[in-house]
């Protein structure tokens, strides 16, 4: 079951009603059953994987916290991390490593005895594994107490709004909310419904309309000229933002309606004037997770190297982020590019700040605009690797962009008109939220007439322009 399926439109109101009708102290059990049912509808057998990961996380965290001996404690912690990572490694990377080894050996006329192994990737495994890992690390670092109730650990790891693509939540934020009996809160439910509606607009109208065009180019790179590939490459970051951003808003909205506060995942990323700022606004739950559990320990380890220690930590963290996104050289290139962009910014940070101060550039709108445009160009350039999926295709795309100009591929004119209008609406809303947050309110306007008109307009746009026969969310593959 996915958020854009008809089944979900029946499932969620039913769960919402059941949840609030359940006696407060048992509500987490309703959520656990609903989450298992939600996941069973995708692939029944993988529900055992989630429950297995939950049991491992629960048992080993308790053992770690009860162990006094530091060496034993550390050994148990490493065992916990390895056990939680094993399924992710097996399903996501084993096939790729096996195939690479077989190909390398075949080049030297050696036979690799294992046949090609292809497993279906359990949807959301990267996300719930990261949540379980975060719980294990926080308990080990004594940032949180271990949870004694296995059902509460299970519901945290399998919470259905977040299970497929995040936001990647932390046990420190979620467990107290599961433990404490919530009361129905009208404002939270309304807020949640608004987010869900805007999330559907972003996904069904913006992302999937853009997707029609981007797919038509990127799925047939050899047949298209450089101009069309360049145009699709400019559009792809917007498609991904609307796709994962839309998914995140639906996930956060559903959680709000159930009374839960969830961390945001995006914050108007295309108005960031630098790459460092961009990564504070894009896929925020993943980046804060990587910052806390990978970048900070690494930069701490290399702190005596001063700024170069930061550079090493940045490069490794984003390399890992690339490999997390996919077991291919294209994602390695994508991750390294982010690390390189951020490292250059970190190295130039002091000089840049002094330059801005000397010329009083901080508040100049042209300087801000230039920063926003350069940041977008850098990000969009790196996304060519991510969208292409393989290094060969990405390099072909780049070669064509620089050497094969031509007439822009139009395809269906209605598609271009629809995605242009819907993208402008999305960016206009982000622009207002970024620069005029107190003005031009739509969903939160004082007048109920404006609120009703805004909601109606979005519903009409979804029904008229939305793509209802589309595939899944992009991030389900990760």
């Amino acid at each position: 079951m996915v958020f854009t399926s008809f089944n979900f439109l029946i499932f969620f109101p039913l769960v919402l009603a059941l949840y609030w009708l359940t006696p407060a102290r048992y509500r987490y059990i309703t959520l656990l059953v609903a989450s298992c049912y939600f996941y069973i509808n995708i692939k029944p057998v993988f529900v055992f994987l989630i429950l297995g990961i939950s049991v491992i996380a629960w048992v080993l965290a308790l053992l770690v916290s009860k162990t006094e001996n530091e060496k034993k404690k550390k050994a148990l912690f490493i065992l916990n991390i390895a056990a939680l990572l094993l399924p992710l490694f097996f399903f996501k990377y084993f096939g790729a490593i096996n195939n690479t080894l077989a190909a390398l050996l075949a080049e030297n006329n050696l036979r690799w005895p294992l046949p090609e192994i292809r497993y279906l990737l359990p949807v959301g495994i990267s996300f719930y594994t990261f949540m379980a890992l975060g719980y294990a690390i926080d308990v080990y670092n004594e940032d949180i107490e271990p949870e004694k109730n296995p059902a509460l650990v299970s519901v945290f790891i399998s919470f259905f709004p977040l299970i497929l693509s995040g936001p990647i939540e932390r046990a420190g934020n979620m467990l107290p909310q599961f433990r404490k009996a919530q009361s129905p809160n009208y404002d939270m439910i309304v807020k949640g419904m608004r987010l869900i509606l805007w999330g559907y607009f972003m996904k069904l109208v913006v992302a999937d309309r853009l997707g029609i065009y981007v797919d038509s180019i990127y799925n047939h790179i050899p047949e298209h000229n450089g101009t069309s590939i360049l145009f699709a490459s400019i559009l792809y970051p917007f498609q991904l933002y609307a796709d994962l951003g839309g998914y995140s808003l639906i996930a956060i909205g559903c959680s709000n309606a159930l009374g839960f506060n969830i961390v945001p995942n995006f914050n108007k990323p295309f108005f960031a004037p630098s790459m460092a700022e961009f990564w504070r606004r894009w896929h925020m739950s993943l980046i804060t997770w990587l910052t806390d559990y990978v970048y900070t320990p690494l930069s701490f380890l290399f702190r005596k190297l001063k700024i170069w220690g930061i550079v090493i930590a940045l490069l490794f963290t984003f390399l890992l982020s690339g490999i997390w996104h996919g077991a291919s050289l294209a994602f390695v290139a994508w991750g390294l590019l982010q690390g390189i962009f951020l490292s250059i910014e970190a190295l130039l940070n002091k000089k840049k700040a002094a330059f801005e101060k000397r010329h009083n550039l901080d508040r100049k709108s042209w300087y801000l605009t230039a920063g926003i445009i350069i940041t977008f160009i850098l990000f969009a350039s790196s996304m060519v690797f991510s969208r292409a999926g393989s290094l060969d295709v990405a390099l072909t795309a780049y070669r064509k962009i620089f050497t094969e100009p031509g007439k822009l591929f139009i395809g269906s004119p209605s598609t271009i008109i629809y995605f242009t209008c819907s993208l402008l609406i999305l960016l206009l809303k982000d622009f207002i939220d970024e620069f005029y947050p107190e003005k031009f309110k739509m969903f939160e306007h004082q007048s109920s007439l404006v609120r009703i008109a805004s909601v109606s307009m979005v519903i009409i746009l979804i029904l008229l322009i939305g793509v209802f026969d589309s595939s899944q969310f992009i991030y389900f593959q990760f």
């Binding site: 940032d143 910052t291 700024i307 930061i310 940070n349």
Partner: protein, 79 residues
């Protein structure tokens, strides 16, 4: 070393890392209150404090320092 001395010496480290000679720190200050105090400059600050006070932090202790006041208290325990 008195808390006042720790405060003053810490302020010098902040001024050096954030390149701002007029920066005045207070116990309640967090990363939100000081321009450019982010995950990149934080580790430069930690390293600068370690060198300046000739102390060593543990990774676990970093999470416990939520504001400047926590930092001062942590430094005092190590002197």
């Amino acid at each position: 070393m008195e808390e006042k001395d720790v405060h003053d010496k810490l302020e010098t480290s902040f001024r050096k890392v954030f390149n701002n000679n007029s920066l005045a720190i207070e116990r309640s200050m967090t990363a939100n209150d000081i321009e450019k105090w982010d995950s990149l400059t934080h580790m430069l600050l930690i390293s600068e404090i370690e060198d300046s006070f000739e102390i060593r932090f543990k990774l676990k202790e970093l999470n416990k320092m939520k504001n400047v006041g926590d930092m001062i208290d942590m430094i005092i325990t190590k002197l």
